[in-house]
């Protein structure tokens, strides 16, 4: 029985991260899967959420702004609002761009945000990051397995809420317009839809969800630093979405679970088979592995594990025919 505790501990820890990544992947899915917005700045918007929530909820920091000591829930809401505001500014400036141009711009924004986190000591604590980010209900549950499980439950509740809210959105007339814009923007505009406005809304909502994911991360780990928000994070979230199946929210969640599982397993295996002296370089193999999986999926199963289902509930015929059957 005593042997089970560390395993249970690890599984809880693992699932917490998977759930947090799933939230971020859902945000990206609204943008890419449903609207076709090539956002390669995921890490930047996650960082905005993480730092905002940390600053709002932590005890006063001696050398930097913030430490307002607000409740964690206020931090989460604040994270969404701040990520949404940053997305609004970026979106107004950049969303007229298409495809790779939007990708380059959002990538640049994310790198800039990461550099701000690294250098604006008064705001972000600089390279040392922010510590003492409160873990909700820690007084009650301590720091062990019980707290991890409680946090997993909270994260799952947040994920469920985000999933339901986004599902309702993508299956609505709003979601129908997003998909129309994704398929043919000129045709959508010729049918009275102002594409820019819909693209902007999709971008802002998606980034708010990413920011919420960042806040969940910050309060789980209790400590954030600029190196947590490098482009590799964006790459991971993208892989999760593509592997799971973009254009399907259940796919995004499945992808987060699958890719995080592979990432964790490969990390463990690599640590065991690579000699101590080469460990640092060996870790790069993890990234190679994820890249290989991504490429393989794109070749053999481009729709992902669970691909997009064609037809909104209203847009299917009487027999519930989605158009997938011959």
């Amino acid at each position: 029985m005593a042997d089970l505790i560390p395993i249970l501990s690890y599984v809880t820890f693992f699932l917490c991260f998977a759930v947090i990544f799933a939230v971020m992947a859902l945000g990206l899915n609204l943008q890419w899967g449903f609207t076709g917005l090539f956002n390669v700045g995921v890490a930047g918007f996650v960082a905005v959420g993480a730092y905002t929530s940390a600053i709002l909820t932590a005890p006063p920091y001696p050398d930097s702004l913030g430490g307002f000591g607000l409740p964690v829930a206020a931090g989460w809401v604040g994270a969404m609002i701040m990520s949404g505001l940053v997305a609004l500014v970026v979106g107004v400036a950049a969303l007229r761009l298409r495809h790779d141009y939007l990708a380059i711009t959002t990538f640049g924004v994310a790198v800039t945000l990461q550099l701000v986190a690294l250098n604006a000591r008064w705001l972000t604590g600089g390279p040392f990051g922010l510590q003492f980010i409160p873990k909700p209900f820690q007084d009650l549950l301590g720091t062990g397995l019980a707290w991890n499980m409680a946090y997993l439950a909270m994260s799952l509740a947040v994920l469920g809420l985000v999933y339901v809210a986004l599902e309702r959105l993508v299956k609505s007339p709003f979601g129908r317009v997003l998909r129309a814009i994704r398929e043919d923007e000129t045709a959508a505009e010729a049918l009275g839809k102002r594409a820019f406005s819909f693209r902007l809304q999709s971008f802002v909502i998606g980034c708010m969800v990413m920011g919420l994911g960042g806040a969940l991360y910050a309060h789980f780990v209790g400590y954030i630093a600029p190196e947590d928000f490098l482009p590799i994070l964006t790459f991971q979230i993208w892989t999760m979405l593509i592997v799971g199946g973009s254009g399907n929210n259940r796919g995004a969640i499945a992808g987060a679970l699958a890719v995080w599982l592979l990432w964790s397993l490969s990390g463990t295996v690599l640590r065991q088979i690579i000699p101590q002296s080469e460990q640092a370089r060996g870790a790069a193999l993890q990234i190679v592995l994820i890249g290989v999986i991504l490429a393989a999926m794109l070749i053999w199963r481009p729709r992902g594990l669970v691909g997009e289902v064609i037809g909104t509930p209203a847009g299917k015929d009487e027999k519930g025919n989605t158009g997938k059957k011959a």
Partner: protein, 251 residues
């Protein structure tokens, strides 16, 4: 209903549409014909707002519309179809048509979360209407299928159903008969005539003179960006200037 005054559109040094003026009467079917490169589609794009005219005025129901965005023009009741149809391929036919109606509350984010009952009620009515239009063009049986399976002619019909779902008062049709097999062509002519007798005004570009003669009493012939002559189908096809524009000067 639609009035063009000295509409000109230049692309760099090329004047694709040159001082074009004409009016479309309410309830009519007006055809624009002319050889390739005459500027017909460019003219349509100016009217529909895809790009603004370089100079000149366009008014719809008495109000100026030149310089408005395509979505704003559509919302005023002026719809257009494309020469090469543009269905949303990964969406069902039903979703293609249900997209079009104006003023859907479910297109606002918050209404979907705060007022789902109203959105669902509207969707139900919208769906009935979309089925009606798909049945009207004879695509009812394919309502639940993705649009990419359609043939070229069926795509033209889908575009017609799609714009009609928004209840426009004037419809611009860019070559409704191009690439359509003869049997389907009869269907298209019949549908346009039926819609016209229910009060919808049409302005169409067409090369098929049988279709033009069957539908429109007023034909505008364009060549090299200008209006050559205006008249009925029989008159313009006999006019030597029209023959010259199409075939060149006789040796």
């Amino acid at each position: 209903m639609l009035r063009l005054e000295a509409v000109t559109r230049r692309f760099g040094g090329v004047t694709a549409v040159d001082q074009v003026s004409f009016a479309v009467e309410t309830g009519s079917i007006t055809a624009v014909i002319g050889p390739n490169g005459a500027g017909k589609t460019t003219l349509f794009n100016c009217v529909a707002g895809l790009f603004p005219p370089s100079s000149g005025q366009i008014s719809f129901e008495g109000k100026p519309i030149h310089g408005l965005r395509p979505d704003a023009i559509f919302q005023r009741g002026l719809a257009r179809t494309f020469q090469i149809p543009r269905p949303f391929p990964q969406m069902t036919l039903l979703d293609n048509v249900m997209l079009a109606p104006l003023g859907q509350s479910g297109e606002r984010v918050l209404d979907n979360w705060l007022n789902p009952v109203r959105v669902a009620r509207e969707e139900l009515a919208n769906r009935e209407k979309a089925h009606h239009w798909l049945d009207f063009v004879g695509l009812g049986a394919l309502a639940g299928r993705p649009a990419h399976i359609l043939s070229g002619g069926q795509r033209k019909l889908l575009e017609l159903a799609r714009v009609m779902a928004a209840e426009p008062r004037l419809v611009l049709l860019d070559e409704p008969g191009a690439g359509v097999n003869p049997k389907l062509l009869d269907t298209i002519v019949e549908k346009i005539a039926a819609l016209n007798s229910s009060g919808i005004t049409f302005l169409l570009i067409e090369h098929n003179m049988d279709l033009v003669a069957a539908l429109s009493r007023k034909v505008i012939v364009m060549a090299e960006g200008r209006v050559l002559i205006t008249g009925d189908a029989a008159t313009v096809t006999r006019d030597p200037r029209v023959i010259e524009a199409y075939l060149g000067v006789a040796a």
